[in-house]
Symmetry: C2
Subunit: 342 residues, 2 copies
DNA sequence: TTCCTGAGCGCCCAGATCAAG
DNA sequence: ACTTGATCTGGGCGCTCAGGA
């Protein structure tokens, strides 16, 4: 006597069997129109709502996917990226009637905790895992039989989706070369993201090669994605005997740090030195000069990852494991031709 | 023959009844130690995992709460705020064994859609709703019997949690007054957020009153939380006969817009004009000069909202409907004493 | 074809049972 | 024989699926 109507309550009211009501609820096309109307109006009158729990129990599917995100404030991934990722995934999942069970994870912590929250209770049909949040747990997930799509880069042989980091870096480099820059300083990212960083370096090298220019190999510095590390890297680059005329930082935060170093040391932006970033965070267009950066279109990444997972769940797995979404160069005021040598 | 072990499988292996296994799983203290050990080892050997669906069906509770967020890129709420909110809520929910089902919502859209995704299928025990994402649907939710906690401001008589906007605005104003500013221009936010904006105005007025200063009532402009509107508002403020010496924008984006206007019109920051914002987004410390702003400690807001919802679900509802989390002033380089009149 | 019937899915709850004090 | 505490038994939560009418 919980009060809520069930399939059978509705069936009794509509004068049909519970199974017929089930067919109506699930949009079975073999239901006669007259019966369907009767059932629908009974459902409306009783304010019937199906029970996800009962359905999950009987069918073995929950129609919910788990999303595992890293959650380490101010490090590695921008909040902009994460929230757009989730928004895109949610949009795609909602369109197909799926729910999104979220688990954030403090990144240095017990390895498998976030996934286990889902899989230990069998509340999800599959998983979307941000690479930084749990690449190391993938074998366990696979053996547990959970279809998984990784968002980002991984060595594991799983479905994965990532933005076109190589293409983005290519576009930045090409843009800087076209402006006339020859000595381009690079602020590389941390080893935790070595696969994404490798892709960006490939794009950089390819752009130099296509322009038939030799890449100055003494101009790569490392940072850890924080503004402070970008500041320090800019200092190291600019105090070399032959400093660069442009700095390409592998994320926006480091680019902002580099801009700060340059301003504090009397360089005019962008006339003395150009700066470009990566990720196109909201801050990029708010700083002065606005930062040229690569937009990853994070919502598209989330959408595609969700679509692939749903396709796998529907039994039509995509042909390729690795899927790439386009990224685009956003040219803003922070990049300009290098100063004339005189 | 799905393969997965059930309570009864474990029971058979351990030589006890299924109900005893259930008691072990649920931590019933009346289980004898010897039996508990036998059951636990059987569970381990069989890799038993409880089925959330079956449990939900039998108990009527899902141990999942729904979180409804607005999702309108670049407007009204910063991504920083949202993601920290969710992170805090998730942390609290996870600690009590609850899951977090997320639904993002494009804000101008069909009113109740996001909540209905949860409630129509009865997959959640309660809801956390961002005020901007669904205040208008609250009566419907309440009548449907879903315990709900609103994050933000609302006129409805529901549990709600919001940061101390009034205190934050008080702190900013007091800070500016202490620096010597008398004419403080205000860039107010949009009417959609009128309750939060009213709280900030109260803080502003109280600070003037406590300092025994009269508030210049001709220095309030409106914006819509975008940088462009902050830019325009700054223009209107600074071209008055007696322009302000400081601008207090009711969010960071508008503050950035104001900074841009000031720079483009030859004002030195902060020596000619001070600027303060609200929300303390990541961009605040990346711009130059770094922006003085009010930190809302969004994760704390999310945590408290989750805790209140869980308390309601546990049958021990808090005494008060309205709950406020502290916000703090982050003083940075964008605020300084006004120029000496000469 | 369209609809119906019956048997579970894996769990929780209530009441029955059984060992001890 | 009469509590008290630990364990067991049966029924049913609301749905889907297979097979029959």
């Amino acid at each position: 006597m919980s009060g809520r109507p069930t399939l059978r309550t509705v069936a009794a009211k509509a004068g049909v069997s519970h199974q017929t009501v089930s067919r109506v609820v699930n949009g079975d096309p073999t239901v006669t129109d007259g019966i369907r109307d009767k059932v629908l109006s009974a459902m409306r009158v009783l304010d019937y709502r199906p029970s996800a729990g009962a359905r999950a129990l009987a069918s073995g599917r929950t129609e919910v996917v788990g999303v595992v995100l890293p959650h380490n404030p101010g490090f590695a991934f921008s909040n902009d990226h994460l929230i757009r990722l989730v928004g895109g995934a949610d949009q795609e999942l909602a369109a197909r009637g799926y729910g999104l069970l979220l688990s954030t994870r403090e990144v240095p912590d017990d390895a498998a905790s976030a996934h286990r929250r889902f899989t230990r209770r069998r509340q999800v049909d599959g998983l979307l895992v941000e690479a930084g949040a749990g690449g190391e747990a993938l074998p366990a997930l696979r053996s547990a039989g959970y279809p998984t799509v990784v968002i980002g880069y991984t060595d594991e042989d799983v479905y994965r989706v990532h933005p076109d980091d190589e293409g983005g870096a290519y576009a930045v480099t090409q843009h800087l070369l076209a402006l006339g820059h020859r000595r381009i300083g690079v602020v590389n990212g941390p080893v935790e993201n070595r696969l994404a960083m490798a892709a960006r370096l490939r794009g950089l090298r390819r752009a130099f090669a296509d322009a038939r220019r030799t890449i100055p190999d003494d101009l790569v510095e490392h940072g850890d994605f924080t503004a402070a590390s970008g500041y320090a890297a800019a200092g190291r680059l600019m105090t070399r005997p032959e400093p660069p005329t442009a700095i390409f930082a592998f994320n926006d935060s480091m680019a902002f740090g580099a801009m700060r170093w340059l301003r504090e040391h009397g360089r005019a932006l962008p006339t003395d030195v150009s700066v470009a970033g990566f990720d196109d965070t909201t801050a990029a267009e708010l700083v002065d000069p606005a930062l040229t950066s690569v937009s990853l279109h994070s919502a598209d990444v989330g959408r595609l990852a969700a679509r692939i997972l749903l396709d796998v769940l529907d039994g039509r797995p995509p042909a390729q494991r690795e899927n790439v979404t386009p990224s685009t160069l956003e040219v803003r005021a922070s990049t300009a031709p290098p100063p004339m040598p005189n």
